[in-house]
Symmetry: C2
Subunit: 307 residues, 2 copies
């Protein structure tokens, strides 16, 4: 155990990310005491039962009192309201951060509430699973995954460097990025793919001539990968799309354009265009595997379930 | 070891499916001798080196001579030509089958070449991985996965029952289905999702303002699941789209319609519509897991790679 990076950390919101942060901090002794708060009494109860957080508080202000780092782990749409609530209780010199999937909106919503003498360093760990809630977290979630820090102008280097050290201590690679670029990059690598997956699963569910039971039984032909993504937390994703509207719509516009071009190639029987397109997309997969961001094992190496 | 179901099986085309069939048949002693043929000399060489097939032949006609079951494991677009080539060498009473992802086209292309006294029983194992080629096969590929048999009208029950026994012996669940319904179901569970994944990966690769290296590094946010599907064999998929044109275009049309509705909800800020949609799609995922067609482990339980 090394010296903790923060003596006291407060986690506001106790879902997949916060619970994984707790276990990751404990794994390496990165924080002295970790307090936690969740709006739902049931979540707080669960957290107490499973030992999530050293101390679960019944209000957000109680949780942040005396904290050196406060991390907002709530859906993007309520970040502003939570920031307003905790602002009076923040300790001078503390750092406030977040884990939201959208950064420009969070900066606009949270920034104005941050008191003089408190630092705001937005962050976004690019890690997650299709599961949500306080019991879904695990210490390894951030290992070898990127966390993007999006410091606002004028922030001193020290709180940024300390937050970086925390994320690195939790296993992540860290990079800094501008908020607008972050929102565009994430629209490509996350937001548009999620909306597309949700749509495809919705279409399958909607069709009258193909039953749900057929869709389920025969999903291993490709469809089931979409269903994993489309099982992600609905509140979180609603907020992502509402707050990263422009970038998401831009990428979806490009996507539709390209999809129409491929549909035309199918309709006109242009096999060469299809073949070339499908060959080109293989290279990106190779890059991801070489970069250690996915496994090369067939089908992600997933286990089969005997039923 | 039980008595083999077929004394001699010929595999024409030696990619992922044929090589998995070979190992699966050997695992349970389902076939006496298995011969194999691939058009490419390099593939035949690889097959001989790794012991894929009891005997690798230098022509398709040589491979099918005396075979009780001939399985066409070539891209859908060349099934007809291969059937024409082997037809004169087929043994009376033999069964010809295939593993193509499209069934109406294969029936139309292969059917007319099948000689009197030979049975044609089209089939489609709904199993695969993103890898291709003779070295990508493994005995467990079909375990707990569905194989659809699509017998043409007037086929006696015996050759159908025997082929069913083979697939069940290779670990698969088996169901029979009409060709047109098969092509529609697969358009939903496989063909449309593949085209959509190819498109999304193409869009990411095309964008000027987001670099490939960013797309690769930050792919764990959702995008990388698409890249696995978009790494599938380009020839196979070109042929699928060209030969299951109508059903694929119909599903893509429905998909675009629905995507536009969600884009409108984003643009107008209709959070309720988004939330309801994202909640509904979770149920399908639960169904797939309950049916044993996917794992509930977070992120498919895939291993992380330390780099």
């Amino acid at each position: 155990m090394t010296k903790p990076i923060y003596d006291r950390v407060a986690l506001i919101g106790l879902g997949l990310i916060a619970s994984s942060m707790f276990w990751a901090m404990k794994r390496s002794g990165l924080a002295g005491e970790v307090t936690g708060y969740a709006r739902s009494a049931e979540t707080r109860e669960t957290a107490r039962r499973i030992g999530l957080c050293d101390r679960v508080c019944d209000s957000a202000t109680e949780a942040v009192e005396g904290a050196d780092l406060v991390v907002l782990c709530v859906p993007v749409g309520v970040m502003g309201a939570v920031a307003a609530e905790i602002a009076p209780a923040l300790k001078p010199g503390a750092t406030v951060s977040d884990v939201g999937s959208v950064k420009r909106h969070v900066i606009d919503a949270v920034g104005p509430h941050i008191p003089e003498g408190v630092f705001f360093v937005p962050a976004h760990p690019l890690a997650g699973t299709e599961h949500s809630g306080p019991e879904s977290g695990f210490a390894e979630l951030f290992d070898y995954r990127w966390t993007l820090l999006v410091p606002v102008e004028g922030t001193p280097r020290d709180p940024v460097a300390r937050l970086r050290a925390l994320w690195e201590g939790m296993g992540a690679f860290v990079e800094e990025m501008d908020a607008d670029h972050h929102d565009l990059v994430l629209a490509v690598t996350s937001h548009a793919p999620h909306l597309i997956a949700y749509t495809m699963v919705g279409v399958a569910d909607d069709l009258r001539r193909v039953t749900d039971s057929e869709v389920i039984k025969y999903s291993a032909a490709g469809f089931r990968d979409f269903t994993r993504i489309a099982a992600s937390d609905p509140t979180m994703w609603r907020d992502v799309f509402l707050t990263n509207k422009e970038a998401t719509l831009e990428i979806l516009g490009r996507f539709t354009e390209e999809l129409f071009a491929l549909q035309r190639a199918i309709r006109t029987g242009d096999g060469d265009q299809l073949f070339d397109y499908f060959t080109r997309t293989r290279a990106i997969r190779r890059g991801i595997i070489e970069a250690g961001q996915d496994t090369d094992a067939p089908d992600f190496g997933r286990a089969k379930v005997a039923k």
